[in-house]
Amino acid sequence: MPKRILIVDDAAIIRMKLRKVLTENGYTVAGECANGLQAVEKYKELRPDLVTLDIVMPEMDGLETLEQILLIDEAAKVIMITALDQRDSLMTSIRLGATDYIIKPFEDERVVSTVQKALESKG
């Protein structure tokens, strides 16, 4: 059964790009959200196998969303996707419990390999 992924990003074009890459590579997009508040609710409802999560978003940013999702499910697999290639934000993501991260702009292959690796990792 294809793994189900929840895409969270405030930019519709990035959600579309991720949807395209993931579905072309055999994954199912369980849902899409434009901010952290929606993402927490969707996570409860859909219980996806993995979440791709943008960091800079309105309403609730990606780091707070990550914390909220991990409170719901401590084994949640979350890949942070961010244009901020800075040690502080990346280390904070990993310390909070993110499985991995991808820096924007990204290559499609990087998305696929990171998702695959995260899904194979032990929660």
Binding site: D10, A11, V56, T82, L84
Partner: protein
């Protein structure tokens, strides 16, 4: 070389490196001979700048405003004529140019996401090379006449000051003849970066 001259050179160096990184990110997204070049760095009276903005060609543009908050706060703006946002959406989504025909959510978010990625590239340069931490806020999209958009941006960035430092860059997608502008203006607290550099040099 006197201290003021050294500070000016340092600003130019930081701007060049930042714009260069932003240009690399831009090329990676667009993949069509895209580049950003530093055009000029200058101090200007806010009145003169707003008057210059009024003289801009009256075309409808869509712009992304981003605040870079932190050790040396900046306001960032990049804008394109509305039809150019259709092209940017097609290039990002790897669609045939001409596929997007209206200012739909993808055209809008192409500008939004470019604003985010370009401003983040600048923030990354400040953090990595100069240890200046800047937090990027989510881009705010505005559609208006170029003259109005630019005036609003300058007045906001100046926040009451008479003079501002302007870092102006040209934003080009050569193959499709798209050329527009990207601006970085330190906010009224720009003295902080200048005094930071003065202490550093």
């Amino acid at each position: 070389m006197d201290k003021t001259h050294k500070v000016d050179k340092a600003i130019e160096l930081i701007a060049r490196i930042s714009i260069d990184r932003a240009s690399q990110s831009f090329s990676k997204i667009i993949k069509s001979g895209a580049k950003i070049e530093l055009e000029s760095i200058f101090y200007s009276d806010v009145t003169a700048l707003t008057e210059e903005a009024i003289s801009l060609k009256d075309e409808e543009v869509i712009g992304a405003f981003v605040n870079l908050a932190g050790d040396a706060p900046f306001r960032f703006l990049f804008y394109v004529p509305v039809p150019a946002s259709f092209l940017l959406a097609d290039l990002i989504l790897k669609n045939e140019p001409g596929t997007t025909k209206e200012l739909d959510e993808y055209a809008k978010s192409a500008v939004q996401e470019l604003g985010n990625i370009l401003a983040s590239s600048i923030s990354n340069t400040f953090a990595k090379d100069f240890d200046i931490k800047l937090k990027v806020t989510p881009p705010v999209l505005v559609t208006d006449l170029a003259s109005i958009l630019l005036q609003e941006y300058i007045i906001n960035a100046a926040s009451g000051k008479d003079r501002v430092l302007v870092i102006k860059s040209a934003f080009k997608v050569i193959k499709f003849g798209l050329e527009t502008q990207m601006y970085i203006v330190p906010t009224a607290e720009s003295e902080r970066i200048l005094s930071y550099l003065e202490n550093f040099l």
